[in-house]
Symmetry: C2
């Protein structure tokens, strides 16, 4: 009995110790403030971090599972043997894919060596690096000539930079495994010339503010940190010393090479990120740029803590992660603003990096752990450890996405993106600046989502990334002729010409401005923005709202687009709905043959599938998509033309998706206003074959007032109730007091808008 | 201590009892061989069954959960009050939906009364029935006139019959709760005249072999069983006594009303089901007809066990459930053969009935329990109890779907449907008979699936079932002008005319014949069928195979369509692929304007999007759908025209989906053979942006022999290996010995085909 008792006591003691350890130990950056220069690993993994990881292996499920998966992956690669073919292909081709794969494999092998302390991984990495060293020292430029900055391993410097960002991590991991002689060989024949090629030899690629350059800067900087080469580190942070480029030259995508002479990693943080963390090219490219931003920052934090990189520009790098996560729909897919491939989501590995780093170096936001749980993998480093421990300890909480306004521009003064959210409805209102060379000419456009499904779509880019059969996996010409054009978006096109005449020079010198953003009332989320100069002499203002009203099943969208011009124009206003047409309240004709709607600016890609005229005060249209019903109600008059269009004309290689729009056209008019409501309602199941609430709840939409100062819209439901939405077009501050008489009734309120 | 011990012993005893009860008690039909006449409930629920259910409540999770959900549903309905509006609407309209809902609610309320023994449910059902009695006794014909057989509660007798099938169950459940006077009132003013209206008053609906009549028969029979009215029961089983209809009259769908005078429930089992359990209209309508077949059979089994209904025609009712489950893809969605709405699946309530009844009255197949688990609900009767207990006892095993051949026709001699399966690939080969009025003119057509996703589609029907905005939820005119036409299917159309000239009279007198079906070799699944008379003077034979070969990533499809005619014709051969075109190995032109491909027989609905000519021996085409790559390789010569088509021409109400096909056209030729391979390969992820194995593995497809007796195709892969597939076109029995010399090489094998 005595023995038993003492065992029990020991167990109890042990248990208490375990509890106290796991309670007291919040994982912090173990190297905070410690300079790791000269110690390896020191870049992403740290000497102390590796010790911590090894100590906890087997007790941290997400980390353990990730490690196991990586180990299986790399063991399989080792079994296959090393291949470093002579470069010859574009994206998607064999040599491209192989070298891209090798960089990942090298990085992972390095990490495995550190964590598992198994020399086979170090040897494998070393052998491969030596093969690269052997090849690289005599390697000419890549034979494919399409890029403005040709790489050596790949057809563009961009991919070479990707490679070095990963491989410098591998080098750091096996640094101490190599002899000094081996290190000298690699640094002299491979790493240094490699870094020089993507920077000094290609300033048009390196010396600018652009996501390409960010990769270049990070690549040079990270290898510099491992090699402890201050010159490379400085070149990474500040750009190539004393070099000025021609400010008027352009790259492949039509962007200026270096308009104002800024360069280097810090400038690349300074310029493209707004104070809210919005990245000016949009979420798809932010995701792409994220990895070098964060992984180089992590390295700088570890090796050069005195730089306080995560506090740079008021902590914008960590803010940008929050912004990016908020730029995703309910499924985690990023909104395809500007050039963006649909389906890219926070399940991408770059976001594993972002979420883990944000958690570890930020404020340990418990919401991030829920996303990490969904990702179901972590970085195999200190930050991944922190996340895995957080999840294990049950700290995860839901990541709530609310309505949010993200300013654009280095100082947050070049427009922005507002996301309105209410229950399952999301509206993405884009009043951002041009967005660099990946920008679209779609000022004041929007897209609408229900529970992660597109209701009114943004087309995204015209490209099949990495699918070689489609233009080598690169941008297709339809990206310029269609996807970037104004008519491809849910906004106004004047006289069949794109905003800023489709010219990057004009677009990048202009931007819309926020009029107001109001999310205080949880039932009424509103944003309003204005733009001039999209067309000389024409001003546009759009006010969008998501309104939860008891007489509607789901929150509905109210959309007010006001156009004021100094001359008569034609205005086209499309809604790119997805799904099947159900019915309309207007007559239309269906042509016997389908012809393109126009000849240029995107119109050449639209077939005209139907032509109608509104014969009522409200034009109504309903459709069905993925088992949900939608209705558009728009204020119209007898002169409004209504078109059904479909994408696909002049698309000889079937590069575009055959999707539809309903389009309003007003001709020969100076000032006009488009007012619409979009309702999501009901459901249809092909299993039960029951159609629930398949009809619009709106009886009438009416404009009761439209002056320079106010626009007032009444919404009457089929139940007979009427609500009035009044937006202030001029003085719209939160504190502004308004008194207004409409039809002899007095309305008084404080703030940007009124709804009652 | 003594007390405690005795308690422990009691608990132990109780526990042993429980175990012994649950171990020994296999749930059997508790009324087997017992006549339940005069005892209530006796139809679906039985007196003894209710006792068993009550005894096990709270211990059978699936049953308990279903019960709870039903109780919540009905409690909510009771709270809303009873509404029995005067009928006026078509499908989808208010009165239609309400009466449809009431029938379900009545049936469930009845069941709840029995199981929970709570009078509130009986009272609710009684009150609603009395309201119906009050209304029905003076109710005229339904005001909508579109049906060939107008109902009173609904616009068609079919829906009235649905109502009575459900409501007779409710009546049975509360039979003993009602006074004799109340029963007399209901039977005299509601049930008897209701049964007469859908039978004697509408023989054109009732007196035939058709899914409509099955509902009618079941309705009359079930109320007959509850009322113990032998005349009604006989009318249900054998049809209206001494009545003959005009054999040439047709119904709304173009089907003959009563070609050969057969009628009644037994004839409706006899005629449409083949000995394999295939239902001649196809799975979508089998699912619809299933419920009255099975629920009336269950009632007959309980009240008239001497009929041995489940053994009728060698147990075809239970066989048909197995056939139906096999006519679904990997997700449980039924193949949309003939008129079938996509998305209908074994999650439909009719299949809950089917699975539970099949398990209980059949051989307790453990695979059915897995489907029941997925359905996550059971019938609230003896059979649902058996399933719930089976699941609870861990008896569920996977339901494996293998390759299967299902004969068509009352004696299995009118063609059939072969489903070839290998890993994730499924090929549905339709060589069935006309399929009654819901049949399509698509002899020897097929569709291909990968893991539940369509690769080459069958269009299905042109209808939005129960969506009022689309033609009242009924068949759209495009169902006849497009969906039924041959050109809408993956088979040969001769001279732009549908099979059998699109005439039901001809179609229903002809059918293809099975040549062979071979699934013995798990790597090579093959079926071959022949048809004459689709066009006078033209014979067609198609041989399809799914082949798993080590040089291919996934099983590939081989497709050999042989056409022999006594005159020169034009043959069109489309492949309705889904997804985005990747590339082709031939040049084609894209027209500036889209025109319809033809003027009739479905051609008027196809736009011509591209026209090309083959310039190689093999025409190749690849596409991407839902992240998977596909390639078509087809043997061609320079005279072959290749078209890209898209559905949607002459479709002024957007009733058709804008989907595409690639089509081969051969003109002015008598005999021809179309030989193609379809490969599924690789994958694409928009998250990782990696394209894996995006290219075809086939280097060349070659016809090395084609005689009356044999067709031999060689398949050469990019690895350089060559396989030969030889199919016997005449003597193809399993035992047949073949010796054949091709290019001086001798091939010897036994059986229908050879592959090596």
């Amino acid at each position: 009995m005595k023995l038993k008792n003492s065992i029990s006591k020991s167990i109890l003691l042990l248990l208490l110790m375990v509890i106290s350890v796991s309670c007291n130990k919040t994982i912090q950056n173990t190297n905070n403030g410690i300079k790791n220069e000269g110690i390896h690993p020191n870049l992403i993994l740290t000497f102390q971090g590796v010790k911590n990881i090894r100590a906890q292996l087997g007790t941290i499920p997400v980390f353990d599972n990730t490690l196991k998966a990586v180990q299986e992956e790399i063991d399989a690669e080792i079994a296959l043997g090393i291949e470093t073919p002579i470069p010859k292909d574009y994206s998607g081709g064999y040599t491209h894919v192989r070298h891209k794969r090798n960089m990942i494999v090298l990085q992972k092998a390095g990490v495995l060596y550190q964590i598992l302390n198994d020399e086979k991984y170090a040897k494998y990495a070393k052998d491969m690096l030596m093969q690269y060293e052997e090849m690289y020292k005599t390697l000419p430029l890549h034979p494919k000539t399409r890029s403005y900055a040709r790489g050596k391993l790949f057809w563009q410097c961009l991919n070479d930079s990707n490679w070095l960002v990963y491989v410098s991590q591998a080098y750091d991991c096996i640094y101490n495994y190599l002899s000094e002689e081996e290190r000298n060989k690699l640094e002299t024949n491979l790493f240094k010339p490699f870094a020089d090629h993507i920077s000094i030899d290609n300033p048009q690629f390196y010396q600018r503010v652009h996501n390409h350059s960010t990769w270049g800067n990070a690549a040079v900087g990270m290898i510099g940190l491992v090699m402890n080469d201050q010159e490379l580190i400085d070149r990474a942070l500040y750009g190539i010393k004393d070099l000025k480029l021609d400010a008027k030259e352009k790259d492949d995508d039509g962007g200026f090479l270096n308009k104002d002479g800024k360069a280097g990693f810090l400038a690349n943080i300074e310029e493209p990120f707004s104070p809210d963390g919005y990245y000016n090219e949009g979420p798809y490219y932010q995701r792409y740029a994220m990895y070098p931003f964060l992984v180089f920052a992590e390295g700088l934090h570890n090796v050069k803590p005195e730089l306080k990189i995560f506090e740079y520009k008021k902590g914008v790098l960590l803010k940008s992660i929050n912004a990016l996560l908020n730029l995703s729909d309910a499924d985690g897919d990023f909104f395809p603003l500007n050039d963006g491939q649909k389906g890219m989501s926070y399940y991408n590995d770059a976001l594993v990096t972002a979420v883990d780093i944000s958690y570890h170096f930020g404020k340990q936001d418990a919401g991030l752990l829920t996303i990490a749980e969904k990702q179901n993998k972590v970085l195999l480093d200190d930050s991944g450890l922190a996340v895995a421990v957080g999840i294990k300890n049950g700290k995860a909480e839901p990541f709530y996405k609310k309505s949010i306004n993200l300013s654009d521009g280095p100082e947050g003064k070049q427009g922005g993106v507002a996301i309105l959210r209410n229950q399952d409805m999301e509206l993405v209102f884009k009043y951002a600046s041009q967005g660099s060379s990946h920008g679209h000419y779609d000022k004041l456009s929007y897209s609408v989502y229900e529970k992660g499904d597109e209701v009114l779509q943004d087309y995204g880019l015209a490209r099949f990334v990495n699918i070689e059969q489609k233009g080598g996996g690169n941008y297709l010409k339809e990206n310029k002729t269609w996807a970037k054009q104004t008519i491809a978006h849910n906004t106004v096109t004047q006289n069949e010409t794109s905003h800023y005449n489709g010219k990057y020079e004009i677009g990048s010198q202009n931007h819309p401005d926020l009029h107001y953003f109001s999310s205080a009332n949880k039932n009424v989320q509103v944003s309003s923005a204005k733009v001039s100069n999209t067309y000389p002499g024409t001003d546009m203002q759009r006010t969008v709202a998501i309104i939860k009203d008891e007489d509607f099943e789901k929150p509905y969208v109210l959309d007010i687009m006001k156009v004021v011009s100094n001359k008569a124009n034609q205005y086209d206003f499309p809604y790119y709905f997805l799904g099947q047409v159900l019915n309309t309240n207007f007559e239309y004709t269906h042509p016997k043959t389908l012809k393109p709607l126009g000849t240029k600016n995107g119109y050449q890609h639209l077939y005209l599938e139907g032509t109608g005229k509104s014969n009522k005060d409200n034009t109504k249209f309903s459709w069905l998509n993925k088992g949900k019903f939608y209705s558009l109600t728009t204020i119209s008059d007898a002169k409004d033309e209504i078109f059904f269009t479909r994408i696909g004309a002049n698309d000889p290689e079937f590069n575009l998706r055959r999707e539809a729009a309903i389009m309003l056209r007003r001709k020969n008019i100076k000032n006009t206003i488009f007012v619409s409501a979009i309702e999501a309602h009901g459901s249809y199941s092909p299993v039960s074959e029951s159609a629930v609430n398949s009809k619009s709840s709106i009886k009438e939409l009416k404009m009761v007032l439209d002056t320079a100062d106010y626009t007032a819209i009444s919404i009457t439901t089929i139940k007979g109730t009427t609500k009035l939405f009044i937006t202030a077009n001029t003085n719209a501050s939160k504190e502004a007091k308004h008194t207004l008489k409409i039809n002899n009734k007095r309305y008084t309120w404080v703030g940007s808008y009124d709804y009652k």
